[in-house]
Symmetry: C2
C-alpha cells in the first residue's frame, strides 16, 4: 500500500523521467512538486527502500519497473477520471485537473476497470494525453499540432493546447471533439490557414486554431 504522498512522488518522477529522458535530480523533483529538496531526499530514500526507484546519493533517481508501473497506474486513473468529468459531467477541458488530482488516489481496481468500460475504454484524455493501459503500457503514438500537418494528412483530434472558453466554444460549434476524425484538404503557406474536412463538412481554419489542436496520426 502506498500513501497519497508516495503516489504523488512516483507520478511526478515518472513525468520528469520522460521530460529529461533519464535520471531525475532531487532539485527537479522539488521544483516540480513545490517542496524543498531536503523533503525530496527523505521521500526518495523511503521509496528506494520500497524498491520503487533506484537511488544513489547525489546521482538522482530512476523508477524501477514496479515503480514505473505504479506511477503509470496513478496516471491512468487521473486521465480516466478526466474523461469522465468531461464526457459525462460536462466539465470543460481546463476545469478537470484539480479534481482528477484527488480522484486519482481512490483505491479500487474494480472501480477503475468499470469506469474504463463505462467510458468505452478511451485511449486519450481530454488534453490529448494517452491513457496507460492496466499494465502500465502507453500507446506511444506521437500527438502533433494540426498546424504541423500537410495537405491530405488525416488524423484524429486527441486534445487541445489552448483551453479558453471561446476556443472550446468554437470547437463545439464546428463539432470537433476528442475522437473527431479530420483531413487536411488544403494549406496556405502565406498565413498557415487550412481547409479541413470534418465529417461531411469542409471549412476554413486559421493558423491560430490549427496551432492549438492536437492530432494523432497513425
Amino acid at each position: 500500500m502506498f500513501t497519497l504522498a508516495e503516489e504523488n512522488y512516483l507520478k511526478n518522477i515518472y513525468h520528469l523521467e520522460h521530460e529529461f529522458q533519464g535520471e531525475v535530480s532531487t532539485n527537479a523533483i522539488a521544483e516540480r512538486m513545490e517542496t524543498k529538496p531536503s523533503s525530496v531526499t527523505d521521500m526518495v530514500q523511503k521509496l528506494a527502500e520500497k524498491e520503487m526507484l533506484s537511488y544513489k546519493k547525489y546521482k538522482g533517481t530512476l523508477l524501477t519497473p514496479s515503480g514505473r508501473k505504479k506511477a503509470a497506474n496513478v496516471i491512468r486513473k487521473h486521465r480516466l477520471w478526466e474523461v469522465f468529468l468531461v464526457e459525462k459531467l460536462k466539465f470543460q477541458w481546463d476545469e478537470v485537473h484539480d479534481i482528477a488530482e484527488q480522484l486519482e488516489h481512490i483505491q479500487s481496481d474494480k472501480l477503475i476497470t468499470r469506469l474504463d468500460k463505462f467510458l468505452d475504454s478511451p485511449d486519450f484524455d481530454p488534453h490529448g494525453d494517452p491513457i496507460p493501459d492496466k499494465h502500465g503500457n502507453v500507446k506511444s503514438t506521437e500527438k502533433r499540432l494540426l498546424s504541423e500537418m500537410e495537405k491530405n494528412g488525416r488524423g484524429v483530434c486527441v486534445g487541445v493546447k489552448e483551453t479558453t472558453k471561446e476556443f472550446l466554444q468554437y470547437l463545439d460549434k464546428r463539432k470537433i471533439s476528442i475522437g473527431t476524425k479530420l483531413k487536411v484538404l488544403g494549406k496556405e503557406f502565406f498565413d498557415g490557414s487550412m481547409v479541413i474536412q470534418v465529417g461531411n463538412d469542409q471549412f476554413f481554419i486559421s493558423k491560430k486554431i490549427a496551432e492549438n489542436l492536437y492530432i494523432q496520426t497513425n
Copy 2:
C-alpha cells in the same frame, strides 16, 4: 478546510447523534471508529475549537449547526457516489461502501452539483438511506420494511436490508430496483407472504423477501 480525519469524525458523530438522540459519549465515538478514547478526546477538543461541536469535559458532545451541516454534506457525497457506483457502474449494493468511503472526501462543490444532476437528483442511496440536500436537510420520511405494510399499501422501493448475491439477483429477475413502485395486493397472515404488483406484473413474495426490502410510503 477540513482534514480527512476531521470529516470522518464529524460524519460518525452525526450518525451517533441520531442513534442516541442526544449527546454522544467519547467511548461511543471510539468504539464506532475503532480508535482509542484518548484519540477521540484530542480530536473532539480540536473540533470544538473550530466550533463544529459543543463539548464539555466528561459530558459528551453535540454537533453545532455548522458541524451538522458539514457532516450532512459528507454523507450527501457518500450516498451520491453510492448511487453512481450502482446505477452507472453496475456495482452491487453491498460492494459500494468502501469505495464511497473514499470518494466522500473529494473536494469540489461543482463536482457534486454535476454528479447530482447526472444521477437525476436521487433522494435515496442504494441502501434506502435518504440523501441530504445541498443545505444538509434530510427528507425525514421513514423507510419501512415491505413486510410491515398492509394490503393495498403503495410505496417505492428505496433499499435492501440483506445484500447477498442471491437476493440481489432475485430482485433483478423481478425487475425490482431503487425507485420501483409497488403495491401490496394481498397478505397472508399465516406465513407473512404477499402478493404484490410491480409495473404490470403481479407475483407472490415470501415473508423472507418482504423482510429485506425497504419501502418508502408517502
